[in-house]
Symmetry: D3
Amino acid sequence: MKIKIINPNTTQSMTDKIAASAKIVANSDTQIIAVSPQMGPATIESYYDEALSAVGVLEEIRQGELLDADAYVIACFGDPALYAAREISSAPVIGIAEAAMRTASYVSTGFSVVTTLQRTVNMSWHLAHRYGATPFCKNVRACDIAVEELEVPDSDAYRTIRDECKKALAEDKSDAIVLGCAGMSDLCLKLQNELEVIVIDGVAAAVKQAEMLVQLNLKTSKVGDWASPPVKNYTGILSGFGVR
Amino acid sequence: MKIKIINPNTTQSMTDKIAASAKIVANSDTQIIAVSPQMGPATIESYYDEALSAVGVLEEIRQGELLDADAYVIACFGDPALYAAREISSAPVIGIAEAAMRTASYVSTGFSVVTTLQRTVNMSWHLAHRYGATPFCKNVRACDIAVEELEVPDSDAYRTIRDECKKALAEDKSDAIVLGCAGMSDLCLKLQNELEVIVIDGVAAAVKQAEMLVQLNLKTSKVGDWASPPVKNYTGILSGFGVR
Amino acid sequence: MKIKIINPNTTQSMTDKIAASAKIVANSDTQIIAVSPQMGPATIESYYDEALSAVGVLEEIRQGELLDADAYVIACFGDPALYAAREISSAPVIGIAEAAMRTASYVSTGFSVVTTLQRTVNMSWHLAHRYGATPFCKNVRACDIAVEELEVPDSDAYRTIRDECKKALAEDKSDAIVLGCAGMSDLCLKLQNELEVIVIDGVAAAVKQAEMLVQLNLKTSKVGDWASPPVKNYTGILSGFGVR
Amino acid sequence: MKIKIINPNTTQSMTDKIAASAKIVANSDTQIIAVSPQMGPATIESYYDEALSAVGVLEEIRQGELLDADAYVIACFGDPALYAAREISSAPVIGIAEAAMRTASYVSTGFSVVTTLQRTVNMSWHLAHRYGATPFCKNVRACDIAVEELEVPDSDAYRTIRDECKKALAEDKSDAIVLGCAGMSDLCLKLQNELEVIVIDGVAAAVKQAEMLVQLNLKTSKVGDWASPPVKNYTGILSGFGVR
Amino acid sequence: MKIKIINPNTTQSMTDKIAASAKIVANSDTQIIAVSPQMGPATIESYYDEALSAVGVLEEIRQGELLDADAYVIACFGDPALYAAREISSAPVIGIAEAAMRTASYVSTGFSVVTTLQRTVNMSWHLAHRYGATPFCKNVRACDIAVEELEVPDSDAYRTIRDECKKALAEDKSDAIVLGCAGMSDLCLKLQNELEVIVIDGVAAAVKQAEMLVQLNLKTSKVGDWASPPVKNYTGILSGFGVR
Amino acid sequence: MKIKIINPNTTQSMTDKIAASAKIVANSDTQIIAVSPQMGPATIESYYDEALSAVGVLEEIRQGELLDADAYVIACFGDPALYAAREISSAPVIGIAEAAMRTASYVSTGFSVVTTLQRTVNMSWHLAHRYGATPFCKNVRACDIAVEELEVPDSDAYRTIRDECKKALAEDKSDAIVLGCAGMSDLCLKLQNELEVIVIDGVAAAVKQAEMLVQLNLKTSKVGDWASPPVKNYTGILSGFGVR
């Protein structure tokens, strides 16, 4: 099976990291194709970045359809363009926030999300609400780390994240950690070992969730809101996006 | 004061209609500038259209900043890119769904939204939730009219919408109607007269709300999530969108 | 247009202050008529005061109908008798808590209400719920200031309120302040300047909201719960209140 | 023990009926004192009536304090002035809507409220929410009967109510009926027998709830919001209401 | 009237304590029959204990039916098997968590539950939600006391609980305490006296609630979910539990 | 990997059917062990049956621990004893209702649950709430089929279920069906083909979910509520259940 993972930002080192995390957990007969879009923001740290990243995500879904991808993963914790992506493919499309939160709910009675910047905390709460995870999400905490710092080899990022996780466990009375950024996926195992608690990486969770849906032959329902978008003309730099 | 109204789709006849509706209610010293973006979908009828319309909306906000617009209105009932737009301007940005629902809540104990396609009904409910309007929103009803039909001079659109409004009042026990599409703004007065009930057009509501915020000197708060987006590189067809 | 502002308590100095705050933001062609009722409590600091203040509020609405007021503002943060007032007039009636919270929601991702006494905190939360503002209201905080202290020229009230606002911004991670008492309306600008953050005064917000509804020709819907009350006999000291 | 039941309206025949219903269920050593206030509306059928009925309710609580009433029941399904009443007495004060809904929740997995006028339906939903009864309240249904019709000996009221109850059981899949008006208390047993289902009368439920709280020596907590109202001057026709 | 109180655990000293607490508040003509089951856990401190305690609870209900018990109380704050018990009797069945939380809501604007082990905190929140008590429940706090410690005559349990109650009142701004374990019922009066605040013991509350329902002749509704279970074969150690 | 599937009822034909459904979707290296307990109800159709089925479920988990099962599935749509089971194993335990609802939420914007008896409808809603699925669950519908009818070869069960599914799709505007009983698992494919819409069987979903968690090496968190139950004595027919 072919799973296309779309890192909605254009930072190739993060895409490589995501690909590595995905391959560790993928089944042996799963082909992981991890890409960054040809356009858009270097990292996603605002509603603005998130809104504009949709263009690249949707372009990559369109390209994926030509390759007959069996499923897609959108590998940014804001799950940008998730519902739009589902409209233009019948293959399952999984967001990493969605997969991480739902997966955590099977093994944890209350998790803390540990994410990068304070300004994205509300966004995570909004997603928790959208996915029905509020009963399980005890807190969302920011580390005040810029996403790009996660790409700097010898930064303090790991220690800062670990310390926030420790505070989460103690103060929120959480029993699991959900990593709030795809760029943290390489830290998952190390954190889990050091903290001695379950740590959920959305990239891994989404890949397994995608495999599961494909194996169950479950596709995005096309009789409701996620039917193909109406045929329509698009203009300007988006002229290639018209649905026919 | 200058209010820039952005019709997120590229259908100029709808933009003209929106401009006309806005000018009827605007204060005499308010300058209405209504535009369609240079890019994007002809109409917005899916999550896909909505996600991609963000590019044009944000481009128009950026242009508006050069003109020192005092406030912005996003004139599509899905309020596309609303939170992103607020990040790149300190001038108030108002969505028409947001304005319509909140305005209705001052004069109605329970309204029905009457919109175009069934597939957008959940989207409206999602917005009602986001804006805290669920206690006031008794129902969201679709007419199964494509948005472009609203632009056809002698279509049955008016009668179809009116009949759905009548059903809403009778079956939902609503005491007001909220029009669920900017393209219905020219029907508001006619419907109100024929139905003898309050009908709220989001374009008009948003323009007055924008004027009010400007007069109160209230700007988008920049100390929270809606601070300016972090400086960042953008590439490809979006290379012009990088924040500096 | 004539806007009648009813201060539900009988403290004339507060009424004068409210009138002044209203006039600063009112349009040039808006006539502000601010009154205290002929009966009722000197200040409103309990459910008991609030319940009894309804008599004066409703009497003033009744008087306002004889003057053809175009809209009413109820200028106490408990919004006493708001729904009852809407029944006996078709002119819009706006509560200052309602207007403050909804107005804040256009420019803030999360505000803190700063009010007088701890015992009114739940009341504000109840209103936040009623108006759908809970997603935006991060906290309600009391200063332990009696309402009448706000009328004492050289009291510590300003400093106490300012300090509570500072704590709100830091601890609640709010990005705006909503003043939880009409008696604080004269402090709004000073607080906004000193705190360098948006501060919302409900009196100003309600006046502008009232103007907006009048300009849009939106009246309280009379086909639902807010229809005129059934004709009925009233006795005793309330004998004048019977609806005919 | 002395339980004072306050019928918030001035219709003595309804007060008599309420007294009779209360005496049937009261313990042998409970003294039932049922009164109508000396002021206010003949019946309560709107927010306006409800707001103004508070004056009489609170006056009767004040009179009750002189008589050392052990508990109070407010016998109107809108529970007018309930929280205010709790502030001026340490004896328990019980509303009939509150008692009916909570009592029903012990024996029913989902009840329907059957009330008088459509315009009070939202009011009941609001109370259901306030008391945490929404999970148990399947529907609120109006019979379009004016309250005073319930006082007319040979009216169709009983049949109309019974038929609405039947519809409630069938359509709402309810397993119990809550009567939504104190004026229906005399119909409870007859309905229960004819419908062969549990029918809850709030008057009876509130009397027993009051007895129970007195027997448990539980009084209204005075360390929170329901502490005695601050001492204060009242003027005009309410001058007697000042707290000292 | 005969009220059978089932302590779902097998610790007889706790059953005796519960019986004593019940008899203090019961009416003179109420016969209290308090039992521990013939099977099951010594104390209930986990979902596991709670699930298995259902067997004994249901067996005791079945036995109670032979004795014509008029009502049942399940005296463990997790209310184990409450809904199942209601199916096999038409007599009212009351859980102590349910009774405590609802009773508190008549006299408190916000209570704190003080319970034994941290691991049961979520369980209490879940019950608060099920019973509609979340608006009234400000916090659930654990003392980290094992249930059996409550049975040790000279343990520190009382002081630990009292101190947690004090913290609850100060930090949660609660105005009442709900005891979160039947084993604390003997501490209620002492705590109330020392804390000078209302303290609710669920055993006492449930007994009075049961008396009230019997006096009102309200039985568990048998036309909905709580109808008698379908006739069915049971096997193994549960072979005696088949419904015929 | 070894997945033990526990059918909480004792009907072997249903266990066989569940095993068959599980084996169809399981990975080639997954060993499916499907059992019915040695005790308990023949089918589960009430809270009573559900409560008592916990004994057999927990016994089978205990047995499974001796076999080093890698994960467990509880194959009844009420998910009996799910949280208790998680306490006594560190292997993941998945309920079929939980798995079905969460899995549906990846591919459907709104599903209908179609289940057996009306009396279990509230139970499903309660689970939908517990798992955060209420935003996705449009309706729960009963077919009025007893569970044992599903085991009768030539019954009308299939047609009845299919017709209810059709009504669900039309009336609820759902875009997917969730089967509300493990005994329907063999009908899933046939229904999906005939209805041309996604149909989710919880047994299949739970098996895949279990596999995914094992592959991700995610175990039930033992630092929170689901830690091993405290050591304790059990007596009577449950004496074997004491935790040591």
